[in-house]
Amino acid sequence: MKKIIVSDPTLRDGNHALGHQLNVRQMVMYAAASDAAGVAIVEVGHGNGLGASSLQVGESAIEDLAMLGAVRAVLKHAKLGVHIIPGFGTINKNLKPAIEAGVDVVRVASHCTEADTTQRHIGYAREKGRVAYGVLMMSHMAAKEVLLNECRKMESYGAEAVVLMDSAGAYLPADVSERIGFLARNLSIPVGFHGHNNLGMAVANSAAAAEAGATLLDGSARGLGAGAGNTPLEVMIAVLHRMGYSTDVDLYKILDAADLAERHLMPKIPTISSLSIASGLAGVFSGFAKHVERVAAEYGVDAREVFRELGNRKVVAGQEDVAIEVAIELAARKGEEK
């Protein structure tokens, strides 16, 4: 039976959905439940990873090391994972103390065409004897051949697995099969997939990834995550088991963990908003949503059209200001049409 390693980013990506306000009590409670269910890796942190807490992208309710220390103490079987984006998180200030706090798995992420930025972080994690993954975000923006080259860079730096993130929730299952299958055939290290649910495809995409050769899959309780949310973990486990995959995760216990998360972590269950669908179709990171809504209201234009134009311009996280430019142009065009 083919085995899937399950990584649970509820306490990291889920922080996006909660303005990075998860507290220690919530983290400990959920981490213990996820651990008891048999999840292999429990990921913890600010939504954007180690060192990202800031006025720019949102401040965490608690510091990185406080989260890590608290969750470390309750994990009995699961490995403790972190997400780090070089630039947000530095080696000396963030990664070194995190490893000293007991992190087992370091997932070093970059935009899908910028794997070069991950070399030192991956190397450092390996030097310290930790498991290191390379993560390519916004992977729908690059062709499979480009993704393979970027993954090969990460492999050469010492990454022991690579994970494709569908950060904008833009993939359909056929897209996932094509990319994951191509990587799995051409890389010697395991390939993983992290879905987002903008088009309601996260579970189907994760299943397609498994069928195409992925052996690492991410899923969050009730899909708690950025934008329309991640792949709902409990649904993914049920589907994988139905498909004949082994995950080491106890279905009833992960259902209990999801119930617990719903009661104690989330003010409301993630839903696919109209704007999330627009951002997924446009292939734009869900983190743009608040900016887009604001500028659309300010300039009197349709937020969905702003997303569509942002997608045409292939914007990436950090280029949120472009939304203003787009809104101004759309408003001007609207004025001309009148």
Binding site: R152, E155, S156, E160, S188, I189, T215
Partner: protein
């Protein structure tokens, strides 16, 4: 570097030279020029020359040329400070002329670091192709040059067929030239062809060596190779993580033997001939990890396929070194177990 580290390396050189120094007699009172001189190969060559000079009165002067020497000065300051060693900071691609007294050249400039091959494939290829060309042009001007030794790579053979026990120098192999991963070995192949062209047109005396895998002192444990990964994981208390099912086969040579072989091939190697340099003793990565674990107190645990691996087909890379053994009477002074123990010992000595 601590005296204990120096002692380990000097003992290694003595053990390799116990095979005989008389074959190296042509090196006496000569000038050797080494490109990539502050790297792994250059450092070990310099250790061996230092031993020959100190203990056998060879009186060889070594000029080490490299783009950078920070790590060399840091880890081998005892070599950098020697009067019989000169370090020249220069990019091999910009070489116009060489010290006129140069009698021997070992051209080792290139990085075998696959991180660089992945991040800067153009730069990696450029150093090999244009660096080799610049060195050959400069070598032609030397009136006293006796031999040019081109350091190629065992990677030029491409994939070793599973049913082939070992790769001999006559195996042409194949590489996917459209694949960016082939940049380094393709450049090395081209450099060999360039050497053949200079030998034909300018009557340069050139031998080539094709190094395989090594394990030993001066190899940074941060390099993402199986040997360095396993040793580093073991020294950290484990677990030693083996990707796949551990059935991939590799062989490892200890670097003092590598340096001794290179000097022998430099002096006695036939012009136009390529020589494999490495250990003919292939072991699976599973066995390799087990042997490393045996050398560490507490015997760290070994994990296989912990990340749910797809188990890609096992590969093999083992050189046939019978040419060096028969034509040059070369053998190993350090077996794999001793190599592992001495590597760990050197790294534990700070």
């Amino acid at each position: 570097m601590t005296s204990k580290r120096r002692d380990i390396v000097r003992e290694d050189c003595r053990r390799a030279l116990a095979g005989g120094t008389e074959m190296l007699a042509p090196l006496r009172n000569s000038a050797l020029f080494v490109t990539g001189g502050t790297g792994f190969v250059g450092t070990w060559l310099t250790e061996m020359i230092a031993c020959l000079n100190d203990e056998h009165g060879f009186n060889v002067h070594v000029t080490l040329m490299a783009r950078q020497c920070g790590r060399f000065v840091e880890t081998a300051e005892h070599l950098a400070a020697r009067k019989d060693v000169t370090v020249v900071l220069k990019d091999v691609r910009s070489v116009l002329d060489l010290p006129p007294e140069t009698q021997w050249i070992i051209h080792a400039a290139a990085t075998p670091d696959r991180r660089v091959h992945a991040s800067d494939p153009v730069g990696a290829v450029d150093v090999i192709v244009n660096g080799t060309r610049a060195m050959l042009v400069a070598a032609v001007q030397l009136s006293q040059l006796r031999k040019f030794l081109n350091i190629s790579s065992g990677l030029i053979y491409g994939t070793q067929p599973w049913d082939m026990p070992a790769i001999s120098e006559s195996f042409c192999g194949s590489l996917d030239c459209a694949n960016v991963s082939s940049g380094y070995p393709e450049a090395k192949r081209f450099a060999e062809t360039l050497c053949a062209a200079y030998q034909s047109e300018h009557r340069l005396i050139i031998s080539t060596v094709r190094p395989f895998a090594f394990i030993g002192p001066y190899q940074p444990l941060g390099l993402p190779w199986a040997g360095t990964d396993f040793i580093r994981d073991a020294m950290l208390g484990g677990p030693i993580r083996v990707h796949g099912d551990g059935q991939t086969i590799r062989s490892h040579m200890y670097p003092s033997d590598m340096a001794y072989w290179l000097l022998n091939i430099l002096v006695k190697g036939r012009s136009g001939q390529a020589y494999n340099v490495g250990s003919a003793r292939g072991v699976t990565l599973a066995e390799f990890a087990a042997r490393i674990a045996d050398c560490v107190p507490g015997r760290p645990r070994i994990e296989f396929g912990v990340l749910g691996e797809r188990r890609p087909p096992a590969s093999k890379r083992v050189p046939d070194v019978s040419l060096c053994a028969s034509a040059l009477s070369l053998g190993l002074s350090t077996d794999l177990d001793m190599a592992i123990k001495r590597t760990i010992s050197w790294n534990q000595t700070t």
